[in-house]
């Protein structure tokens, strides 16, 4: 465990990084959602393709998109998020 720095709480660095990861995930989520929905869904309905009976744009944007986000979130939390104490003073113990 790091030693507490004189000025800034060492935990804030971790907190800031994780907040930025949250923003990054939201951006990825938005791009995936928007790209598939309007990239594939803007064409003529008669030329739509289908996956499991659902319009392909919808399947990739919303169904697969949800699955991808769940996996991404789970992996991020598992590998990038760190356990830290919330109470002040615990780090000195």
């Amino acid at each position: 465990m790091e030693t507490p720095k004189s000025k800034d709480d060492w935990r804030f660095k971790i907190a800031n990084r994780e907040a930025l990861i949250g923003v990054a995930l939201a951006v990825i989520n938005f791009v995936w959602w928007f790209g598939f929905a309007y990239g594939m869904g803007s064409g003529d309905v008669e030329e739509y393709s289908y996956v499991f009976g659902l319009p392909a744009w919808f399947f990739y944007s919303c169904v697969l998109g949800l699955a991808v986000m769940i996996v991404l979130v789970a992996l991020t939390v598992k590998f990038f998020f760190r356990d830290i104490p919330f109470e002040d003073g615990e780090e000195e113990r």
Partner: protein, 484 residues
């Protein structure tokens, strides 16, 4: 009255009631940290309960009745819009995150206002935020209460007043006796009911419609636009749908009832679990409910009132006892939103108003009596108002969601992460956010949506500009997060 639907519903209410009372035993036992215990569950929520209480608080009547009803009319474009909510599952906890948890403990903050008070050191910020929470969330709560009673009325054929009474008594007792912990634990049960209910109903609807390809064929035959992202007449624009990323997506960070949950968890482990569970549960519920709404269209065409789609389709495709079980889900959604708002508004009155300005030296006994009393009185007032909802209530409820987001998002987020945030910026941001939201609401109603985006978008941008601009203009001084 269809008893086979009513009995499972009443059984559900009874179960929730007893779980609420049961989980309150712990609150009764601890004496010292009463406020923290009653209004925050002693900051010891685990991952599952935390995730579920966030989802359940957020998922209200609109996710279970209004949203699917609109999807029924609009088609796949509305499911696309509804899926913008998946982001709330991880974003709120990641962004408020550990810094909020640490600072809330350091400042001993029990309400969102406590946090803002410690961060900005300004009575104006305290009063503005307490007033916004009390006025807007009180109206939002009353509106949900009306929705709950209407649902019971339409399902059981009881009169509106009887339905309201049953609904009110069952919520009030466990909230008053059990406090935040009872609310969170019953939310967890209610959240689980929502997930299971929507799964059963989705499968039943697909079977009744003759499989997904068949349903899609029927929809296309009726109107091909229903399976595009653009709505039945092709007018649902990219910009409008995307702007819901702010209203029901990332902007949710600014909702006090959600933010307060981000200070209630026990450890970073429970937060990590809650992020994963919350994402799965939000995503599954939103996807299922709105798919059900669209899939219901070929099976039961011609439903005029959107809110009735889910009750009607449940009774159509399920045996009636199972419909009763499944319809407990929207009931659960409404109850869990109402109970969370009730405890939040009471905490604001007791902690932010009474203890700050009226009686700072109140003894534990007085605080206890005040807490129970305020919760009970609030509940009774809401009940009386819901009997015959005044226009003012409906008016205020219009601004509850987007208005609160525009007011609180930057004071919370920037207050956490930008050390040059100060009270001038916070006050300006809250005032600009609220005022521009109200103004734009009327402008959009009269002239159509400005820039083709939802009303909330521009006020959120303006309040950001006001926050940063005014903060820098008045006093460029770094805030010391280490000071207590």
């Amino acid at each position: 009255m269809s008893w086979s639907v009513v009995i499972p519903l009443l059984a559900f209410l009874a179960i929730i009631f007893f779980i609420g009372i049961w989980s309150s035993r712990k609150t009764a036992a601890s004496e010292s940290g009463f406020l923290q215990d009653y209004f925050l569950g002693g900051r010891e929520l685990g991952g599952f309960v935390l995730a579920m209480t966030m989802v359940a608080t957020y998922g209200s009547a609109s996710s279970f009745l209004g949203g699917p009803g609109t999807a029924y009319t609009i088609g796949f474009g509305w499911i696309l819009l509804a899926m913008t909510q998946v982001v709330t599952g991880y974003f709120v906890l990641m962004v408020l995150g550990k810094k909020f948890a640490i600072l809330a403990r350091r400042y001993n903050a029990i309400t969102l206002t406590d946090f803002l008070k410690a961060r900005y050191q300004s009575p104006v910020v305290v009063i503005l935020s307490a007033a916004a929470i009390i006025i807007f969330l009180f109206s939002a709560m009353a509106a949900q209460w009306v929705g709950g009673a209407r649902l019971v009325e339409s399902l059981t054929g009881m009169s509106y007043n009887t339905a309201l009474f049953i609904f009110a008594v069952s919520v009030l007792i466990y909230v008053i006796v059990g406090g935040f912990r009872a609310v969170a634990v019953t939310d967890a049960v209610q959240g689980s009911v929502m997930v299971i209910g929507t799964l059963i109903l989705l499968v039943a609807v697909i079977v009744a419609g003759g499989g997904v390809p068949n349903i899609i064929r029927d929809l296309t035959a009726e109107n091909p636009n229903l399976i595009t992202p653009f709505g039945p007449d092709g007018t649902l624009s990219k910009a409008y749908v995307s702007s819901f990323w702010i209203l029901v997506g990332v902007g949710v960070v600014g909702l006090p009832q959600i933010a307060v949950r981000a200070m209630s968890y026990k450890s970073s482990k429970s937060m990590h679990r809650a992020i994963i569970i919350g994402t799965i549960v939000t995503g599954v519920i939103m996807l299922n409910m709105h798919l059900i709404g669209v899939f219901a269209r070929p099976i039961l065409p011609g439903i005029e009132v959107g809110d009735k789609v889910i009750p009607l389709i449940s009774m159509e495709v399920l045996p009636s006892w199972l419909a009763g079980v499944v319809l407990a889900a929207p009931m659960a959604a409404i109850m869990s939103t109402v109970d969370s708002l009730l405890i939040l508004v009471s905490s604001t009155i007791v902690k932010d108003v009474y203890l700050n300005y009226i009686k700072p030296d109140a003894s534990i006994k007085v605080i206890k009596r005040a807490s129970f009393g305020v919760t009970a009185v609030l509940g009774i007032i809401v009940y009386l108002l819901a009997l015959n909802p005044p226009d003012l209530l409906i008016f205020l409820n219009l601004f509850a969601f987007g208005g609160l987001e525009a007011a609180f998002i930057w004071p919370i987020v920037m207050g956490l992460y930008w050390k040059y945030s100060n009270k001038y910026g916070a006050i300006a941001s809250m005032a600009v956010g609220m005022a521009s939201y109200v103004f734009l609401h009327y402008y959009n109603q009269a002239n159509g949506n400005l820039l083709d985006v939802h009303t909330v978008t521009i006020p959120v941008v303006l309040s950001f500009v006001a926050f940063v601009g005014v903060s820098l203009l008045f006093k460029r001084e770094a805030f010391d997060y280490e000071a207590r």
